[in-house]
Amino acid sequence: MRLVPSPEQAGFAATLHDMLSAAGVPAVADSWADGDYAPGRRLWSRLADLGVTALAIPARRGGLEATPADLVIAAEELGHHAVPGPAAETLAAVPTLLAALGAATLDAGRLLPALAAGQALATLAAPPWLPFAADACAADLVLLADRDTVGPARIGAAHSSMDRTRRLYEVSPAGPMDSCPAVDRALDLGALVCSAQLLGAGRALLEASVEHARTRVQFGRPIGSFQAVQQRLADVAVGLEFARPLVHAAAVTLSTRDLSAAKVACSDAAGRAARAALQVHGAIGYTQEHGLGRWLTKVRVLSLSWGTPAEHRARVMAELTKEAGWN
């Protein structure tokens, strides 16, 4: 029994955090929002240098074949820094789909090593969870998953997202769809990565709130000394504290019940962190210049992606009513 990161995993998270803290992510995200993907691609290349993009890829395809627990460690840091790009797609869902394809239209033998090496970004539409392919314009590989089939997708109309660093694309099949036994598994792993991103984003929002509350002075005192602010941020801390073990357990069991429970709890906890963060920051947080909005909007769109909270709650109950046991 062990539900906390190993020293190696903690070290991996710290390495990622240090790299991303120094990488100028806010400017990268602004460029990404403006349609200039080159700085973002360079950032993903640096993530690849640290092994992030190879985690879910089989060793025989040039990957690290790491555990889902390692994947959530990395995903939490991506969320923590609000890194732009189709993360759950590139890191988890698309590699899972490709690795499960036999002889098919898609050349997994070529694509998986490219993803592992960070030479390619991948995105995915998979209705109803993912009706659009996020950031398809910036991706090298755009897939469509439909029930038990997967194939390359043709990009259609673009929609701007409430998250400025995302663009959503309608897609249609670009050729024959191949049968794939791993669609559910790929979406589940994507949901797990999304949960970890939400957890990281929630943590960033709490950290930003605390920092602002410690330094912003009103009525002659730091606003963080006021009970109304303290009580609210304490509740945010509780929510995040108790969402984390659900993510780590889901990474171990990969059961539908646990994956969905984690997604619900992380969406909730990060959502409350976002609301509190904006309220603590006040008007400055509502400006584009401040940057809080990158986390605020990402939390909201990630909560609704990879299965809405309502869908995941339904899945949890469906699993619970099948169980005879009590844990």
Partner: protein
């Protein structure tokens, strides 16, 4: 990361499960004698206090085993633990700060419920502001004489002895000059007046102390060092020793079953959220085995709010039948106390904000 139980833990869990299945009685909440008898049977089976050292009646079991025991105990619907204030609050304090003589004298009878303990923290003018206590401990030859009034003393209506803080040096700073003392509730000068709780039961009591003698042997830690000693007990009370995850996991499972029998679509998501909350608390406790630094206030906030939500949800699922459902209605009234005792949740949020998040006082 993994969720696997080692063979020793599995064997322990199976033993506990089998023993409880064969032995758990139905005990009426008010039946003090039956509760004490049950505690003696638990102790005879070596299951009353698995985490304690063997010489005091325990098994020196690791914390994981305590969590597993609690899961099994609540899944089997074991009776409320009449000795819990002693077992889960005083005992950890004695093991950390007590002398070997105190441990030898006090812990074995506590484990068998031969002596049931009450806590005596709050006073009429010292609730959330615990350091404002006024009850006095006066130095006398060979010990102390206690005077004053304690209130909301859990279990005092049925207990044999009590522990609490007394002001031994009124001239000192309010957090200093306090001494942690144990006293006999049947000693001359002690008057216990039970207070009926919201549910009509005499769960807690007022304790009046009029020049009650306590020997030096019943001081825990050093005179004047009571606040520090007490705060270590407060951590246990807020943490998972008093409200083990197993209790909530079992109750959440019963709520799911209840919903399956008679719930409607409108309450489904609330039931799911309760189950997720209980599971989160359980997993958090497992994680804390390897990283035990979490501020106890975080944990207390989580379980006490979860407990209220859990029971509110159950009552809503039951609808108008809830008010005559002794289990769920009683559990609801019990849960309502959680956000108040062991430091109100407002106090806990302040502690989390200042100690965990580093916000200014």
């Amino acid at each position: 990361m993994n969720l696997d139980l080692d063979p020793g833990a599995l064997a322990f869990r199976d033993e506990v499960r089998a023993w409880l299945a064969a032995n758990v009685p139905a005990v009426a909440l008010e039946d003090e004698a039956a509760h004490r008898a049950w505690e003696r049977r638990l102790a005879a089976a070596g299951l009353a206090v698995v985490s304690w050292p063997e010489r005091y009646g325990g098994r020196a079991a690791p914390p994981l085993h305590t969590l597993l025991f609690e899961e099994e105990y609540h899944a089997a619907r074991g009776p409320m633990r009449i000795g819990q204030n002693g077992l889960f609050l005083l005992a950890p304090t004695l093991l950390a700060h007590g002398t070997p003589e105190q441990c030898d004298r006090i812990l074995p009878p506590m484990a068998r419920a031969d002596e049931v303990w009450a806590q005596a923290w709050s006073e009429p003018e010292a609730g959330s502001d615990l350091a404002a206590i006024r009850s006095r401990a006066h130095r006398t030859e060979g010990g102390w004489r206690l005077s004053g009034q304690k209130t909301w003393s859990s279990r005092a209506a049925v207990a044999d002895r009590a522990f609490g803080l007394f002001r031994s040096d009124p001239g000192a700073d309010r957090h200093r000059g306090l001494t942690y003392l144990m006293f006999d509730l049947r000693a001359p000068g002690v008057t216990v007046r039970p207070i009926r709780q919201l549910d009509g039961r005499p769960g807690f009591a007022e304790i009046f102390l009029d020049d009650v003698f306590v020997p030096d042997a019943d001081v825990i830690g050093s005179p004047g060092d009571g606040w520090r000693v007490a705060m270590s007990t407060a951590g246990h009370e807020r943490g998972l020793t008093l409200r083990a995850p197993g209790r909530f996991v079992a109750a959440a499972r019963r709520l799911v079953d209840l919903w399956q029998e008679q719930g409607d679509a409108a309450s489904r998501d609330r039931v799911v959220d309760v189950w997720i909350g209980a599971q989160a608390y359980r997993l958090h406790a497992f994680a804390a085995l390897d990283a035990p630094t979490t501020e106890a206030g975080l944990t207390k906030l989580f379980w006490s709010e979860l407990d209220v939500t859990l029971h509110e949800t159950a009552l809503d699922v039951l609808g108008p039948h809830a008010e005559v459902d002794a289990d769920w209605a009683g559990g609801y009234l019990f849960a309502l106390a959680g956000p108040i005792y062991a430091g109100t949740n407002e106090i806990q949020r302040g502690l989390v904000a200042q100690r965990v998040l580093g916000l200014p006082r």
